[in-house]
């Protein structure tokens, strides 16, 4: 099946509004964690959600559009990380298709793998375009790695390895917590419904 055909299927019916919701969620999730004063960003939570519930290509689309919209809304550097989000969407979607979102331990492993992959993808962008400076707390980590004699690319990669798996593990777990107990009535019309753990029958 061609990618175009796959995308057509993945964006039909309720998946289209849900995809849009998840893109918006990526952008506004930071407001929720900020209001709760929790020091995490969850800026790929929507991408992960849509990748699990709809499919890998929809996930990739959600990732790309989220970064582009965020870029248009006042943080231009986000656009450069669109490829990373696309990879996150695709990878999560394929993991979900193989049943990785049915058990918490697979979700945990998947989150860590995803984190490593994200670190690999974002390191070159971050190193060559931004010379490792992201104006975030993680800059200190990059500075540390560089001060002990690593190149920029290596330092950014090590920093990514240190923080991304944790970040993605949190996102994955959060999505798992949220999607675990959805009623069939709501999920049955999404193509990824089979990716979810079976809801324990009412006792």
């Amino acid at each position: 099946m061609s990618i175009r055909e796959q995308l057509r299927i993945e964006t039909s019916g309720p998946a289209l509004p849900f995809l849009a919701f998840c893109i918006a969620l990526n952008i506004v999730a930071g407001q929720v964690t900020a209001a709760l004063k929790i020091p995490i960003y969850l800026d790929s939570i929507g991408t992960v959600m849509v990748a699990v519930l709809v499919g890998p290509f929809a996930g990739a689309m959600a990732g790309a559009f989220s970064n582009l919209l965020a870029s248009a809304m006042g943080s231009p550097p986000m656009a450069f990380f669109a490829p990373v989000s696309i990879v996150i969407g695709l990878f999560t979607g394929f993991l979900a298709k193989r049943g990785w979102f049915k058990h918490w331990y697979l979700v945990a492993i998947g989150g860590i793998l995803q984190g490593v992959l994200a670190a690999v993808c974002s390191a070159p962008i971050s190193a060559y375009l931004f010379s490792g400076v992201m104006m975030a707390g993680t800059d200190f980590l990059v500075m540390y790695f560089r001060s002990v004699g690593n190149s920029i690319l290596e330092s950014v990669f090590y920093q990514g390895l240190a923080s991304d798996p944790v970040d993605k593990l949190i996102s994955y777990s959060m999505v798992f917590l949220l999607l675990r107990n959805l009623p069939q009535r709501l999920t049955s019309r999404f193509s990824g419904a089979a990716n979810l753990p079976n809801r324990s029958p009412a006792t």
Partner: protein, 262 residues
């Protein structure tokens, strides 16, 4: 022991006051119906009661606790406010978890049995293990009412609790209201549904331009046509029918023609 609202004023910004110098008291066992046009500040008033918003001037005392000095969490043990849209609060995977959320958070003793009783009262017991979103919308609304009942607060406030209910759920709501009043809870209801609530309300207040334009018994309110119209309210059909008949009879007495419009 009562809710005391004293000279309460509130505004989000300096240019427009939402509430101006509102005073009222509600005692346990009372049913206060709050009516008024959309956007007149009824929901804001509810948020002021449980301390989510703080008064610009004046004060709100819940059994003597000043809302400015107490946290929302501690006020929630005294007064439980339920807002209009069930979708804004339903989160749990089962109806039972949803209803026991409040008593657990509020550290009630034996939250399970409180939740169980609330479910029974609202006729949702057979749905205990269902997912809230497997319930039809009207029963989901009833679920938010059960959640409020389970908070076991002395005062319960509801925003449009009868919206979207069919006769089955309305009958249940009626039963909930009478049981709660018998238990000595204080009820505050914001609603447009005068035909449904006027039977239970011990007092009705009308909010207009930020202040109370009427405070009294429902029967009295029904005589005040101007206020009713400005508040966008509708009379119960029976009252309307009686009105039309008496108006016709009056016209007949004075010998006018009997075309009556209402």
């Amino acid at each position: 022991m009562s809710i005391m609202v004293q000279n309460l004023s509130f505004s989000y910004s300096t240019d427009r006051k939402i509430l101006k110098d509102v005073s009222l008291t509600i005692a346990p066992g009372e049913f206060l119906l709050i009516v008024g046009r959309n956007g007149v500040g009824k929901s804001t008033f509810l948020k002021l009661l449980n301390g989510i918003r703080k008064p610009t001037s004046g004060k709100v005392l819940i059994d003597g606790m000043d809302t400015r000095e107490n946290s929302v969490a501690s006020l929630a043990r005294k007064i439980c406010v339920t807002f209009q849209n069930p979708a804004d609060q339903i989160f749990a995977p089962t109806v039972f978890d949803e209803v026991s959320f409040a008593p657990r958070n509020l550290k009630r003793t034996d939250p399970e049995s409180i939740a169980q009783k609330a479910l029974q009262l609202c006729g949702l017991e057979h749905h205990k293990t269902s997912h809230p979103y497997d319930l039809p919308p009207a029963e989901r609304k009833l679920l938010t009412i059960a959640s409020a009942v389970a908070s076991d607060a002395t005062y319960l406030a509801f925003d449009e609790p009868s919206a979207g209910l069919s006769s089955i759920e309305q009958n249940l709501l009626e039963h909930v209201i009478t049981s709660l009043l018998a238990e000595g809870k204080g009820l505050l209801v914001v609603s447009h549904d005068l035909p449904f609530f006027f039977r239970y309300a011990t007092r009705v207040v009308v909010l207009e331009n930020g202040s109370l334009s009427f405070s009294g018994h429902a029967e009295e309110l029904m005589e005040r046509e101007g206020i009713l119209r400005r508040a966008g309210l509708r009379l119960p059909p029976l009252v309307r029918a009686k009105r039309i008949i008496s108006a016709m009879e009056k016209k007949r007495e004075v010998g006018g023609d009997d075309v009556v419009t209402l």
